[in-house]
Symmetry: C2
Subunit: 463 residues, 2 copies
C-alpha cells in the first residue's frame, strides 16, 4: 500500500470529522459585503489559521485595509520537492433575501438528495466547502506522515466576493514571501457533472460598476411635477434598456475590441461534450437563451463577454402606491469579460454609453466595484497533466477541460504579481445555487474532492 493509499484510507475512516470541520466553519456568517459582519469575517479567518497551525503550518491572520488574509507556510518533508501555493476565500455572498431559504443560511443542514446527502448553507461550496476539502487533505497527510508531501504555502482571503480590492495590494506587498511557489492550486470552480471531474482552463474576467442617476434635489409629487420634472427612474431605464440590442450584442462602445472568436479545435471539443442548453435552462424554468444570437451555448457561457444588471433601485417599492418622482435611482451592472478585452476601456465605455443617453440635468455618479481580465491557463503544464491523472484515478473517468463563466480575479493577480499560473480544480455542481438562496454542496463531491486533493499532493510529492 502506497503512502497515498494509506492517506486515502485514513480520509475514509475519519470522514465524519472532516465534515464536522466544514459545517463548523459554515456557521460563521462571514459576509464580506456587509460591515456588520466584519467580526464574523475575522472569526472565519481565525478558524482557518487555527486549523493550519494544528497541522504544523506557520500560520498567521494578517491585517489589510479590509478583512484579513490567512497566510501559512509548511516546509514539507525537506529536499527538492515542488512548492504549491493554495488559494481560497473564507468570505461569502450576502444571504439576502432570507425568506427564500428553506433552511437558515448560517445553520448548515444535512438533507438527503438525489446524489446522497448534501449540506445547505451560504458558503457550503463557495468557497468554504471547497477550501475545507484541501485543508482536510492536508490533515490526512499530516496525521498519516507527520508532515506534508510537498512544500506548501496558503493564502485564504476574505474579500473575494467584494472584488478582492485589498488582496492584490497584500500580494504585492508580500511578493517575496509567495513568489517561490511553482503553481497556485485553487478549488473555486465546478465539475462537468457529479460523475465527471473538470479542470478549468479559461476564466471570464469582470467589470462591476454601480451607477447612480441624480435628478431633482428632493423627491417630488408626481401629480404636481409630472410633465415637467426629470424622472430619474424613467431616465435610468431608458439608458440601461439600450445596453443590449435585439441580437444580444452589448452596445457599449468598443466593447468587443480584442475579443477573439474561439478556435475550431475549441469549438469541436466543446461540441463533443454534449451540453444540453435546453436542460441547463429548463432546470431553472426557461425555454430559450437570451445571449448573443449565432453563438454556441458553451461559447456564450465561457468565451463571450456579457452584460447583466445585477440590481436596480429607486423610488417607492413598498406595498400600495406612492405617487412620487424620486430624487435619484441607481443600478449595479456587471460585465463578464474574455481574454483580449481591456477592463479599463470597458469602464470608460460604460460611462460614455450612459452619458450619451441621459438628459442634460441627469447627474451620473459611477463607482467601479470590481475589475479583472479574462484569462487562459496553459494546458500543457506538468501540473495540469498530474491533476488530470489523479482525477481519472479517483473518478475512473477522464477530466474534461472546460471554460468557466465566472471570474476569479486573483488568478490574474497571481499571474501579474507573482508570475505564477493557476491550477483550477473544483468540485461544485451547476445546481449548487451559488450566490442564491439555498446554496448547497453535495457530500459526495466534498468527499471525492478531498480524496482528489490528497491524491494530487501525493502525486506531486512523489508518494
Amino acid at each position: 500500500m502506497s503512502t497515498t493509499e494509506q492517506v486515502l484510507a485514513r480520509i475514509d475512516a475519519t470522514f465524519e470529522a472532516a465534515q464536522g470541520r466544514w459545517i463548523d466553519w459554515l456557521r460563521i456568517p462571514s459576509v464580506s459585503a456587509q460591515p456588520k459582519h466584519a467580526g464574523d469575517c475575522r472569526a472565519a479567518a481565525e478558524f482557518a489559521r487555527a486549523e493550519l497551525a494544528s497541522m504544523g503550518f506557520d500560520a498567521t491572520v494578517r491585517d489589510t485595509a479590509g478583512h484579513p488574509v490567512v497566510a501559512a507556510h509548511h516546509a514539507g518533508p525537506g529536499g527538492d520537492v515542488p512548492h504549491l501555493l493554495y488559494y481560497g476565500h473564507y468570505d461569502v455572498q450576502p444571504a439576502e433575501p432570507f425568506e427564500l431559504w428553506t433552511y437558515p443560511p448560517f445553520e448548515p443542514t444535512i438533507v438527503e438528495g438525489p446524489h446522497g446527502k448534501r449540506v445547505y448553507a451560504r458558503g457550503a461550496v463557495d468557497d468554504k466547502g471547497q477550501v475545507q476539502m484541501w485543508l482536510s487533505a492536508f490533515r490526512a497527510w499530516f496525521e498519516e506522515t507527520g508532515t506534508m508531501p510537498c512544500r506548501i504555502s496558503v493564502l485564504i482571503e476574505g474579500e473575494e466576493e467584494t472584488g478582492s480590492v485589498n488582496f492584490k495590494p497584500f500580494v504585492e506587498a508580500n511578493r517575496e514571501e509567495f513568489n517561490k511557489a511553482d503553481i497556485i492550486v485553487i478549488s473555486d470552480t465546478g465539475m462537468w457533472d457529479v460523475d465527471t471531474p473538470a479542470i478549468s482552463t479559461s476564466l471570464r474576467g469582470m467589470v462591476y460598476m454601480e451607477v447612480t442617476l441624480k435628478a431633482a434635489s428632493r423627491d417630488l409629487h408626481s401629480g404636481m411635477y409630472g410633465g415637467s420634472a426629470l424622472n430619474p427612474i424613467n431616465a435610468l431605464t431608458a439608458a440601461l434598456g439600450q445596453l443590449k440590442n435585439a441580437e444580444g450584442r452589448v452596445m457599449v462602445p468598443g466593447y468587443y475590441d480584442g475579443v477573439r472568436d474561439i478556435s475550431s479545435r475549441q469549438s469541436n471539443q466543446w461540441s463533443a461534450l454534449g451540453f444540453s442548453e435546453e436542460k441547463f435552462l429548463g432546470d431553472i424554468g426557461l425555454t430559450e437563451h437570451y445571449g448573443e444570437k449565432g453563438r454556441g451555448a458553451l461559447e456564450r457561457l465561457w468565451a463571450r463577454p456579457t452584460c447583466d444588471i445585477c440590481g436596480i433601485w429607486g423610488g417607492y417599492a413598498g406595498p400600495g402606491t406612492k405617487t412620487v418622482i424620486a430624487a435619484e435611482a441607481g443600478a449595479k451592472v456587471s460585465f463578464r469579460l474574455v481574454p483580449g478585452q481591456d477592463p479599463a476601456k470597458v469602464v470608460e465605455g460604460f460611462k460614455a454609453f450612459m452619458q450619451a443617453r441621459v438628459p442634460k440635468d441627469a447627474k451620473l455618479v459611477f463607482t467601479v466595484l470590481g475589475q479583472g481580465n479574462g484569462l487562459e491557463i496553459p494546458i500543457d503544464s506538468p501540473f495540469v497533466q498530474m491533476a488530470s491523472t489523479v482525477l481519472e484515478e479517483e473518478y475512473g473517468k477522464a477530466a474534461v477541460l472546460t471554460g468557466c463563466g465566472g471570474s476569479i480575479p486573483v488568478v490574474e493577480t497571481f499571474q501579474t504579481v507573482l508570475g505564477l499560473d493557476s491550477l483550477l480544480v473544483g468540485f461544485g455542481l451547476d445546481d449548487d445555487q451559488v450566490h442564491s438562496p439555498n446554496e448547497k454542496f453535495e457530500v459526495t463531491c466534498f468527499r471525492h474532492g478531498l480524496r482528489s486533493h490528497a491524491r494530487l499532493l501525493g502525486k506531486i510529492g512523489g508518494k
Copy 2:
C-alpha cells in the same frame, strides 16, 4: 359687526388652540399603505369623529373593507339653508426614506421660515392640515353661534393615498345618506402663491399600476448563467425605457385617444399667470423640462397626460457587489390622465405595451393599484362665485382659476355616484414637499385657509 366678522375675531383669539388640534392630529402616523399602521389610521379617524361630535355633529366612525370612514351630519340653523358636504382624508403617504427628514415625520416641529412659522410633519398639509382648517372653522361658528350657518355633512376617508379603493363602495352603499347635498367642498389642492388664493377647476386622473417581470425560477450566478439566462432587470429596463420617445410622448398604444388640446381662452388665461417654469424647476435643482415638447408649461402640468415610474426594484441593492441574475424585477408606474382619456383603456394599453416588448420567457404580472378619470369643474356655479368672493375678501386679491396636476379620484366618485360637483379650494404651496421627506405647511396658509373657510360658511349661510 356681522356674525361672520365675530367668527373671524374668535378665530384670531383662539388660533393657538386650532394649531394645537392640527399638531395633535399629525402625531398619529396614519400611513394607509402600511398594514402595521392600521391601528393608527383608526385612531386618526376617531380623533376627527370626537372633534365633530363635540361641535354637535352626529358623528360616527364607519367600517369598510379597509380603513374606516368618518361620517357626520349637522342640520344647521334650520330652514331652507344650503347643504354642504365636506370631504377630506386622514391618511398620509409613507414617510420613507426616514433618514432624509430633518425633523421626525410624526413629531410635528414648528420652525421659522421665510413666510413666518411653518409646521414640519408627514400630513402637515396633505390632508390633515387642510382638513383641520375647516374643522376649526366649524368650531369657531359653533362656539360663536351654537350651531352651523348651513346644513353640513362630512366624509373623511382613510385610503386616499392608496387609491380610495373602499371609499367608492362606501359612498355607493350610502348614497341616500349623502346625495342631498348641494356641493362638495374639498381642501386638498394648492394656492397660486403664498399671497394669491386659487380654485382648481380641472384635475388630472390617474392609472397606477405595478408590474412584475419573472424569469428563472431562482436567483442565478451571473458568471455561470450570464450569456444564456434571461435577466429580468435587463428585460424590464428595455421595456420600461421605451415608455417615452425623444419628444416626451408616451408610447403606450392609444394613450392620446380622447385627449383634447386646450382652448385658446384657457391658453391665454394660463399664459397671463406669468408662471416661470425656470424658477419652478430651478427651486428643485433642474434647468429644463422633460415633458412633451411643443406644449406650454402649465398645459403640461394641468392638461396633458404623463407617465412616471414611481418605483423600481430587483436584484441586489446593498453595499458592495453581488454577482446575481435575479429571478424577478418590478416597477410601479403612474399615468396622470386628462379629461377624455379612458383609464380602462390605459390599463389595457400598458399591458399590451409591455407584453409586446419582453422576451418569450418573461412572465408579466400586473396589478392595478389606482384608477380614476381626469375631470373639469364648471366655473359658473354660484358656489365657485361665492368662493371667489370670500377668497378676494380674505386676501385682497382675486383668486386664480387653475388646473391641478394631481389626482383627486373621489371628485369623480362624487360626480358619478352622488351627481354632485366639487368646489376645490386649497391652501398648499408648491414647496410644501407633499409626498416627500420634510413635508410642511405654512402657519400663515393654515390661518388664512381657516378664515377663508369660515367666511365661505357665512357667505353660503347668508350671515
